[in-house]
Amino acid sequence: MLWQCIKMAMKAIASNRLRAFLTMLGIIVGVVALVVLVSFVTSAGDAVTDQVEGLGTDLIRVSIIDDGGRPLQLDELPAFTAHADIGAVAPTNQISATARFGHESGQASVVGTTFSYAGISNLELLSGRFLQTADVTNSTHVAVIAESDAEELFGTSHVVGAELALDGRPFLVVGVIADQESLTSLLMPGYTIYVPYTTAVRMSDNLASAVTTIMVSASGTDMHAAETAIDEMLLNRFRRDADAFEIFNQALMGEALGQITHMLAMLMGGVAFISLLVGGIGIMNIMMVTVTERTKEIGVRKAIGAGRWSIMLQFLIEALVICLIGCLIGVIFSLGIIEVASIVAGDLMDFHLSPGAVSVAMVFSIFIGLGFGLYPANQAAKKKPIEALRY
């Protein structure tokens, strides 16, 4: 009986293709909106999460907020690495400066740090060397620059040995690193240039020599152990004042970002769901017309022996089939749109179909088909046979 009903539904739909398609359009648009929007949001979220993870989920950042008159000095840091759970520790500070080479110039964020930073942030050295301990000790004017920044400023990435000016002071480029797909480099325009920590301190009137930001990596994969270790050591250092510093775990940030994208996806999905509902109303409208148009058919079927339930099932399945075909077309359209978006976005972002959105669209389409098909189907089922025959 069910299979017969599906066959009848297909036949009815095939007999009026244009109308069926127009009826489906609402569902198609709704499904496309749902699938594409949610896919975009989750794709973007995944990309951001990837980048955060690219920064290293095995990375902890500590900010010293209030040192209580006992500032943390650079030479205290090596003691932290002595702990078994901690891999490396690097201080960072940051100033803004104008970078110039010949006629080319631009705003640069100058990061002052030490040798350990390269390992902690997974920097990949392409040529030359990274900052060394001697550079920090002697406050030398050396700089490490990212590949694409070098190409922009110098016109080439073979810049080891070249000289650039930062706020008018000459710096020798000693190393080139691969571009980091970091969140900060995405959000902040301009060059990123690494210089010795002490050199950066001297370049700026505002930077004190005291360490206020530390990057910490775990010795193994156990982030929690490393976090606990640094927390305990800093508590000891700052007389057990928990407000003296703040520990920021990159992995937690990833989780937080995940939650934000999830919420955003839900929101978008909710908006798209409304258009799906409107599509459902369209289906109900057409089904009402169909039932009226086919009153005679209903009468004949009843005369031949169709019960209430058979007629009900027939029209319900017709609405359901329309919804599911619409859903299928919508998913196919969505695939196309996402494919095109991926091509347009290029390397910037990789869009992919969200399987969750597809299943939600599928389930909603079924419920909409049943929900909005129910009333017209019942109208059909309750027609009196003689009256329907006389129509």
Partner: protein
């Protein structure tokens, strides 16, 4: 097998009562071929609708196959129509989207017969009305006479105990009408119980038993 006793059916339109059937009594035995004649508006279709369980009487008794058809539920009536009654309409009432074969198959689907049984029965019925070579044709691709033969095959498919035909030749030219009447005679000879409603005296004259209906009352015609 059919007994009507003092059956009445009253329609009221705008406060005015129309007694479509006014104490109609009738007995039809198994295997009979009966023509019901009467002028337009005399209550023939009303009578057929009650006999066919499409409608129920306001008062009186209707017995089909020893079963009193009274306050049955809609679904029970549908079941009786499906198993016991074969309808043939003046305007054929085939479903236009379906082929001849599929139209004949329809009552069998509602009987929930298996696919194999249905196929076999449909082939048998189309052969009976000599339309095996037109089984894939849609109603619009068939002549009026052919369409009525498909409708007869559909009515017969469920092997009903009673064939009810309301003006079956009314939409056909006289030659095709004669062919259809010949088919009814053959079906009667094979043991089917047939009731034909007509206002055409020529058609009625071919039936072995004739009943006249006038102002909702039934009388035997000698």
């Amino acid at each position: 097998m059919i007994t009507l006793d003092q059956v009445t059916k009253v329609y009221s339109i705008g406060g005015e009562e129309v007694r479509a059937l006014d104490g109609a009594s009738l007995h039809i035995a198994q295997g009979e071929f009966v023509a019901i004649i009467g002028p337009s508006g005399s209550g023939k279709s009303t009578l057929m609708n009650i006999m066919g369980c499409l409608d129920t009487a306001d008062s009186g008794i209707y017995e089909l196959d020893g079963q009193r058809i009274e306050r049955y539920s809609e679904n029970e009536l549908a079941r009786i129509r499906n198993r016991k009654i074969g309808f043939i309409f003046q305007s054929f009432n085939l479903l236009s989207r379906m082929s001849a074969e599929e139209n004949v198959e329809l009552p069998l689907i509602y009987q929930r017969l298996s696919g194999r049984e249905r196929k076999q029965r449909v082939a048998e019925m189309l052969a009976l009305v000599e339309l095996s070579d037109r089984k894939s044709h849609k109603p619009t691709e068939l002549s009026g006479g052919q369409q009525q033969r498909v409708a007869i095959a559909r009515a017969l498919a469920a092997k009903p105990s009673l064939l009810l035909a309301d003006e079956p030749t009314g939409n056909l030219d006289s030659r095709t009408g004669k062919e259809i009447m010949a088919l009814f005679h053959r079906l009667h000879a094979e043991g089917n119980t047939i009731v034909i409603i007509t206002h055409d005296q020529n058609v009625a004259d071919q039936a072995p038993r004739r009943i006249r209906i006038l102002d909702g009352r039934v009388q035997e015609v000698a």
